[in-house]
């Protein structure tokens, strides 16, 4: 065979990047190894998270952003996340199809990902993908996901700048836009701004922001018409301004520190969870379950016993 994937990745081979993305998503040993070897090269890309309800036009917005950045000489990677069906375990990954203007361009890489109901959330897979794109040399990494529940928090975790997209006329009253969603927003976008009720939505959002707590910075509200690339220039300016704000206010390092700490915790939890599942399924531990049933031991005691086992267990766990 030929050189290993990591070597090929470091040499700039796109195919190696694509394969390593799979490894990171599949949580393989090779994926972990690759991240270890490339981590030194990370920390340069600007990561932008884009979240919002279905129908908000996020993918179209991403498409417009990609074009803008490319026109200004920046390379762009996109992680497009869609939900895995709890029923079937499958997913239709339908964001790429709306970003098709850019297929011929090597300065663009679009990767579709399903949420997969992973233990530890989506974060490790997305975080790993971001690291890979960052190390490979992409200037901008966009993460797009549907803003429903945990996913939006995951996106905010992985991103330097989080954009929350809203649209008028989705049938939701302003009250149903969760306060939590607005809190994670560094920038608010009102897409389909040509709709008649767009202005009201902007006003409502502004009022909600005033009620909330945003520290030293109030997130700007940017109206856009993504299908016509209207408002994109201003959005890009706000993104750049946010990046600058992060650096100048010293918040950047704090955020990165927090993010990496969370990543460490997630890795650790992933390891522990794997070990725990094995332990729970190990027939050698069945007697402990019997003792619980007969009320000879209580759960706390069994847990202590479990942790003792963990401390003395061999450290590496993987699939």
């Amino acid at each position: 065979m030929t050189e290993d994937l990591v070597t090929r990745f470091l040499a700039g081979e796109r195919r190696a990047l694509a394969r390593l993305l799979s490894h990171v998503e599949d949580r393989t040993d090779l994926g972990r190894l690759a991240l270890r070897e490339i981590f030194q090269r990370t920390g340069n890309a600007h990561t932008i998270g884009i979240t919002g309800p279905p129908g908000a036009g996020k993918s179209t917005l991403v498409n417009a952003l990609i074009r803008h950045y490319r026109e200004h000489g920046k390379t762009v990677a996109v992680v497009a996340i869609d939900p895995t069906s709890a029923l079937s375990g499958g997913a239709t990954l339908g964001d790429r199809i709306r970003m098709m203007d850019n297929y011929a361009d090597d300065g663009v890489f679009i990767r579709s990902m399903a949420t997969r109901g992973q233990l530890g959330g989506l974060s490790l897979a997305v975080g790993g993908a971001v690291h890979l794109f960052d190390a490979f040399g992409f200037d901008i990494v966009l993460i797009e996901t549907v803003g429903v529940g945990q996913a939006e928090v995951d996106v905010a975790d992985a991103a330097d700048t989080t954009i929350v997209v809203q649209v008028p006329g989705l049938g939701d009253s302003i009250q149903t836009i969760k306060a939590g969603v607005l809190e994670i927003a560094d920038i608010l976008v009102v897409n389909k701004a040509d709709r008649p009720d767009a202005r009201q939505l902007v006003r409502d959002l502004r009022n909600m922001l005033l009620l909330g707590d945003h520290g030293t910075r109030m997130p700007p509200i940017v109206p856009t018409i993504a299908t016509e690339a209207d408002g994109i220039t201003r959005l890009v300016e706000e993104i750049a301004a946010h990046r600058q704000y992060l650096e100048e206010s010293g918040t950047a390092d704090d955020r990165v520190r927090q993010r990496l700490r969370r990543e460490v915790a997630q890795f650790a939890r992933e390891q522990f969870n794997l070990w725990l599942l094995d332990w729970l399924h190990d027939p050698a531990n069945d007697p402990l379950a019997e003792r619980l049933l007969r009320r000879e031991d209580d759960p706390g005691t069994v847990a202590d016993r479990l942790l003792d086992d963990f401390r003395t267990a061999p450290q590496r766990h993987s699939r």
Binding site: R19, S88, G89, A91, G94, F109, R111, S112, R116
Partner: protein
């Protein structure tokens, strides 16, 4: 048990000018219901676009849906583009209005299966599921 199970990733593509997407869309849903992760390219794809998407998304399977009669020209081109992109081991299947004789030739040139009109959906899904290429070779 593991932290996550590996999913089968499939690209369903419509090459050329053929605008009949009913079959492709139905297959996308059926594969999703069978637990796979499916990326639909949409219409009017060139062979190059298909290979590019398959490579970047690192899919296990590429399914070509073509009802325009242009399969004899387009499928060989897709096979070539996949080869150039280093995707020789991807499972390639095709479906549509492809007569038996043409299907035979396509199979000889690297298409694992050709699903003609009237193929039960379950047959296509099962074939894909049972012929996923192995992934053990990375190092």
């Amino acid at each position: 048990m593991s932290a996550t199970t590996r999913a089968i990733r499939v690209l369903i593509a419509k090459p050329g000018l053929d605008g009949h997407d009913r079959g492709a869309k139905v297959l996308v849903r059926a594969l999703r219901d069978a637990g796979m992760e499916v990326i639909y390219t949409g219409l009017f794809q060139t062979p190059e676009m298909i290979a590019h998407a398959a490579a970047d998304e690192d899919v296990d399977v590429v399914g070509i849906s073509i009802l325009s009669g242009a399969h004899n020209v387009l499928v060989p081109k897709i096979i070539e583009e996949l080869r150039v992109a280093g995707l020789d081991d991807v499972l390639l299947v095709a479906g549509g209005t492809i007569p038996a004789e043409d299907a035979r030739l396509l199979r000889e040139s690297g298409v694992a299966a050709v699903f003609g009109p009237g193929t039960p959906l379950t047959e296509a899904v099962d074939f894909i599921r049972n012929h996923i290429p192995s992934r053990e070779r990375d190092h």
